[in-house]
């Protein structure tokens, strides 16, 4: 089940061939887009909000060192602890060490893209700690041994029958494919884990530098349970999740809920500032915040792709992307899918390791239009393509074709000769028994039929007849 981004072409063609999966993704993304559109319509100042959010993120990212130090100081002032993790293994070891100190054999975990990115669950298991995923979708795919297929809805690719069978086989409960019953079973089973766990792990949606407050957005309540019941709470965030001020939160909360699920507000938002205070009935005795770099400071060094760090992980660009809608999240072979995944994965894992991803786009720009923090995603994809070309990482056939095209475009005589030759070649080839094919293109697409006359001939003749444009 270990997919890698280098397999994009194979995975994508497999998934496109799966009609059920394609229907699932198209209806789910369509539904999400409709919900989003409805709720955005109710906010006349939406474009202003996007612009403002973009500028606040810009401020945070352009002064990342300043705001991170400020965040650290604020968290410490509130009695929390901060750990800076250079990479996945440093972050995972920190959490594993916490488990050892607490002698915790199981930990409860709510949804965190950062934890997913560093493979925290695997690291914990390797250390003999059982990480229990508590988000319903995450729980399902953990039991199935799968990986998430959507940022917001991780089990989007599974049917209720598949889930029913899974629970029946793994837990020995009578088969049911009624979603409410499956959910009730998970609720009951996970309650026990919540009440006994010593450590709760969560992600972070936003971290306010001035107050040291982390905000966690969710609908189920499992993140609230993870952060309220266990004795210790550790939150993991990518460096870029910091925002300058607590007072910036309302703006981002409005944008996130509406962009991701079309809700005015999610069921729950927890704004947590340090551990439990004296006199309070619950809350963790220790609060730890892990600041994860894992390649983010490298992304920062290229001003053209720096804006990809503004992402608030709403998933709207996935939903609107004509490629994602058809190939689904697993094709990307990475935690991050869709347009933002096609930008982040090559940046995190290296361009050569994910060289097909920048091409997993029609460059229609729908992702850039929908992005609540106005990341120019399709430009970022183009820049990544440019990098690939300049590193000669594209196939030799493409390079040859492009250099011939470039030569032709610079010289009218060469262009005329080239196009005449090409027309002749295609005419002859079309009549032969073995028509000309282009590998990787022709099998899935019809080559456009050759026009009777060339554009130039048509132009001249229509001008003579006086019916030109």
């Amino acid at each position: 089940m270990n997919r890698t981004p280098s397999q994009f072409r194979i995975l994508a063609s497999e998934n496109i061939a799966d009609r059920r999966l394609r229907r699932t993704f198209q209806s789910a993304t369509g539904h999400a887009l409709g919900q989003r559109a409805q709720s955005v319509q109710l906010v006349p100042e939406w474009e202003d909000l996007r612009e403002r959010a973009h500028r606040i993120k810009e401020e945070a990212v352009e002064h990342l060192d300043f705001y991170l130090e400020k965040l650290e100081a604020s968290v410490i002032r509130r009695g929390g602890r901060v750990f800076w993790a250079r990479d996945a293994s440093e972050a995972s070891s920190y959490v594993v060490d916490l488990c050892r100190r607490l002698q915790a054999s199981t930990v409860v975990k709510s949804k965190s893209m950062a934890a997913e990115e560093i493979g925290l669950a695997d690291a914990l298991e390797a250390a003999g700690v059982q990480p229990v995923e508590t988000d319903l979708g995450e729980f399902i795919i953990q039991v199935a041994g799968e990986t998430p297929s959507h940022i917001i809805a991780p089990a989007l690719h599974m049917t209720r029958q598949q889930i029913g069978n899974l629970f029946h086989e793994k837990f020995g409960i009578p088969y049911t494919d009624i979603p409410a019953e499956l959910c009730a079973f998970a609720r009951q089973r996970l309650r026990r884990e919540f009440l006994s766990a010593r450590l709760g792990i969560s992600g972070v949606n936003f971290a306010a530098a001035d107050t040291g407050t982390i905000a966690i957005v969710e609908n189920e309540g499992n993140a609230r349970l993870c952060t309220s019941l266990p004795r210790v709470h550790v939150a993991i965030m990518g460096l870029e999740k910091v925002i300058p001020r607590f007072s910036d939160l309302p703006l981002f909360l409005r944008l996130l809920a509406r962009s991701s699920t079309g809700q005015k507000q999610t069921s729950y938002v927890s704004m947590i500032s340090g551990p439990r205070r004296e006199g309070e009935w619950d809350g963790p005795e220790e609060f730890h915040l892990v600041l994860l770099d894992n390649g983010r400071s490298d992304i920062l060094s290229d001003p053209r792709v720096r804006r990809s760090l503004y992402c608030i992980r709403c998933g709207a660009c996935l939903n609107t992307c004509p490629i994602y809608q058809r190939v689904g999240g697993h094709s990307y072979g990475s935690v991050y899918s869709g347009p933002i995944g096609s930008v982040l994965t090559p940046l995190f894992q290296g361009l050569e390791a994910a060289k097909d991803l920048p091409y997993a786009s029609s460059l229609c720009g729908s992702c850039s239009n929908i992005c609540p923090v106005k990341i120019d995603l399709h430009h970022q994809l183009l820049w990544l393509r440019e990098k690939l070309v300049s590193r000669r990482a594209t196939p030799w056939q493409e390079r040859l074709a492009m250099s011939l095209f470039a030569a032709g475009m610079k010289d009218p005589a060469l262009y005329r000769m080239g196009s005449a030759l090409l027309r002749l070649f295609l005419k002859v080839s079309g009549k032969s028994n073995r028509p000309f094919t282009i590998p990787g293109w022709s099998p899935t697409r019809d080559f456009p039929a050759l026009a009777q006359t060339s554009f130039k001939q048509w132009w001249e003749s229509s001008r003579q007849q006086g019916e030109g444009p």
Partner: protein
């Protein structure tokens, strides 16, 4: 604090082409956002609150006074067959001696109140166990947000679990707690929240717990309450 701190900060500063340390300054972003023309008055705001809360499956209503609310609670408990009720330490619950009054009104129901010494781990554990068994919890609110039908509860007033573990959660609110939007609440929390007015946990609750993780089918009561009720007590002042 650990060794990677300086490494990471160093990388960031190099990436941003900024020599030395911490030269950045906080920039304010001018607030260019037009605000939506808001409605005024607590009653009108609560109308708006009710509309939005109901749209996400919340159960809002207005009670003329505490007597009407008590009557409502009796009906709610009887109607749903709730056996165990938990009452928070919130000011509104204490003011109306809710736990005591409900015990008398509902002799067959066990009423639990969050009380005693919260700083003793033993009593905190006992409280958790009780709450996990409760069918209904009753708490106050700190703020209501009209724009989204949201209730805000600070950890200083009640536990975090009392609004989370029971099957149903009832919030008793008063007209002075309602604000048009989240921005207005944040302004109320203070422009300098670092000065200590910010509680350890501030929880926003909008309708019942929900999930759509199985085939996008909406299910209420994923991990938290299946029912979320908000009752506004008293006329506009």
């Amino acid at each position: 604090m650990n060794g990677s701190r300086e490494v990471i900060l160093g990388r960031i500063r190099r990436a941003l082409l900024r020599p030395g340390t911490g030269h950045a300054q906080e920039h304010g972003i001018p607030d260019r956002v037009r605000s939506t023309p808001g409605r005024v008055g607590a009653t009108r705001l609560f109308d708006q609150f009710q509309e939005h809360s109901a749209s996400v499956g919340g159960e809002p209503r207005v009670c003329a006074d505490i007597e009407e609310a008590l009557e409502g609670i009796q009906k709610l408990v009887a109607g749903a067959g709730y056996r165990r009720v938990a009452v928070s330490h919130h000011e509104i619950c204490r003011r109306h001696r809710l736990a005591q009054v409900l015990s008398d009104l509902l002799p067959e129901v066990s009423v639990w109140r969050e009380e005693g010494d919260a700083d003793r781990p033993g009593s905190r554990r006992r409280n958790s166990r009780q709450l996990a068994q409760a069918d209904l919890s009753i708490t106050g609110a700190d703020f209501l947000i009209a724009e989204s039908g949201t209730v805000l509860i600070a950890s200083a007033g009640s536990s975090r679990q009392i609004s989370l573990l029971p099957t149903a959660h009832l919030v008793l609110a008063t007209p002075d707690q309602i604000y048009p939007d989240l921005g207005a609440v944040f302004r109320q929390l203070g422009t300098a929240p670092e000065e200590g007015r910010l509680p350890a946990a501030l929880t926003m609750i909008t309708g019942p717990s929900r999930t759509a993780d199985i085939e996008k089918v909406l299910i209420k009561g994923a991990h938290g309450p299946v029912r979320q009720l908000t009752w506004m007590i008293g006329e506009e002042t």
